[in-house]
Symmetry: C2
């Protein structure tokens, strides 16, 4: 039986990966600092701080996973782009990988980012777009990928890297776009936004997680974009949310400043994900946003009732 070690299992993406892993027949082991804050079925939970190599190593040696899905990272909204913690996560990820390989692990997938790419073009493609990160986060992810990809043949490791684009969905943290505007409007408050003309490629977090699981369960090597392949103006996403909530009076475009350096359009080439991994998303934007609004209503009402 395949045994997967999942990191970041209490995080936005990781928590949504558990079901997909189980349904594909993996014996799922999670490693988190605190017990998972939700019911997680048959999952075997291990408590450890990945920043402490001794703890990391003892979990890996106890589990002896055949597969690794590494979603954990420093992810505080707004701060993560230039946080020194990115360096710590490069260290910890390399140590995790070394321990995984030393204990017999054979297939690993790690979560990367569209922030690795040069953003001067509109279509970001694994084969053609240069890698030119502009943030420490982007550099950290790109360096980690480059190192692990180069070392993989030496380590006898099958390795793939999911480059995640924009995402949204249940359990998104405040401080991120879709969460903030949805929560505000569910509460009847105005939703301040930038001009909203920038076009981005958004995918529902359940599909992001399932794509990573599909990638893990495949034999595809190297970087694969995890995205929808379609870009929409942020403004139209906010308007759709407002319509779903029935409060089209609440969005306030232009009240937050957009960085002048923000590219006008970024969309993923998803041919590798579709054709080589064979992944199809469950949600389109209409059903995905409806699901997100439902969850936010429940969470907000729950918190205030």
């Amino acid at each position: 039986m395949s045994r997967v070690l999942l990191t970041g299992a209490s995080g936005f993406i990781g928590r949504h990966a558990i079901e997909g892993l189980s349904s594909r027949g993996y014996e799922v082991h999670t490693v988190t600092r605190q017990p998972l804050p939700f019911h997680a079925g048959d999952v075997q939970q291990h408590l450890a701080d990945l920043m402490v190599e001794r703890e990391l190593r003892s979990v890996v040696e106890a589990v002896r996973p055949s597969h690794l899905l590494h979603c954990a990272w420093y992810a505080v909204p707004g701060k993560f782009w230039m946080a020194a913690e990115n360096l710590d996560w490069v260290s910890a990820s390399l140590q995790l990988l070394r321990a995984f390989c030393a204990s017999g692990g054979r297939r690993a997938v790690m979560a990367g980012s569209c922030a690795e790419y040069d953003w001067s073009g509109e279509v970001l493609s694994e084969a053609d777009t240069p890698l030119r990160p502009q943030t420490l986060y982007g550099h950290a992810k790109n360096s980690l990928r480059e190192l692990v990809e180069t070392a993989a043949p030496i380590l006898d490791l099958s390795f793939a890297w999911g480059r995640i684009f924009w995402l949204y969905g249940p359990h998104e943290a405040p401080g991120r776009l879709v969460c903030d505007v949805t929560r505000a409007m569910v509460r009847g408050e105005v939703a301040k936004c930038s001009h909203g003309r920038q076009q981005r490629d958004f995918l529902h977090v359940v599909d992001v997680a399932n794509a990573l699981v599909a990638l893990l369960d495949s034999e595809v090597l190297g970087a694969v974009n995890i995205a929808s392949g379609e870009a929409l103006p942020v403004r139209s996403i906010v308007e759709r949310i407002a319509t779903l909530i029935g409060r089209t009076d609440l969005p306030r475009f232009g009240e937050l400043s957009a960085s002048p350096k923000e590219p006008s359009r970024l969309v993923a080439d998803v041919r590798r994900l579709r054709e080589q991994v064979g992944f199809r998303p469950r949600f389109d934007l209409a059903t995905g946003l409806a699901d997100t609004v439902d969850w936010q209503k429940h969470a907000t009402l729950g918190a205030h009732s």
Copy 2:
């Protein structure tokens, strides 16, 4: 007073850096796994394994260095190019840097490599040559530099990176060119070489170490080539050594295979080192090789008498 923590102090380059640091007025602290295998004057030695974060951290916290000169790395001749240990050294170096900054460190220099560069051109320059490593070692060094350079402003760190080219001199390890041919000929044995037509930029290890010290003692930021700025055919270096030993009958060119991928000529642009760091080497090739042959004679006679 400036307090420097020197890593790799028992290694080929690090051991030669101690004197330069002391003579520039630094209080020198070394961190090595074993006591230094030579008399090291006023140096304060600390024993720790940099692969164990707890040990690394406790040395840094005890010393509270203002400066860091990081020369330690996995360096087994022949093996280091593609060894998985390169990943461990990226981790350890990032952890070392974080501990150094957390304890008040302000200026760091790390040892990089010409293996970071694209080798398709002949002249390798910090400003103009693309970075395109072909080995895990080159990727590891390049990634570490990129990460630390990007993080330096966040960490309030003044950071420079010495890109070391070819080197030779006393205490070079067997398995490396100049050591092997010198030792063989001092013993009266034939010195097997490749065709020797490839031109490389060689600098005496004392000058390499002093250049790193000068870089540390400057305010120059970023990558600086550490080299002579002149390339000579490897064959002519071996012939000079044979002449110094008086055994021009011993070199055997063409008896070892050279990789067809080896570039024919690689030379460093050393203008940054000369003009910005203000460094001038003590040895030219004639005096440097004479010094090396003298040392090898002493070491070999000492070992066999």
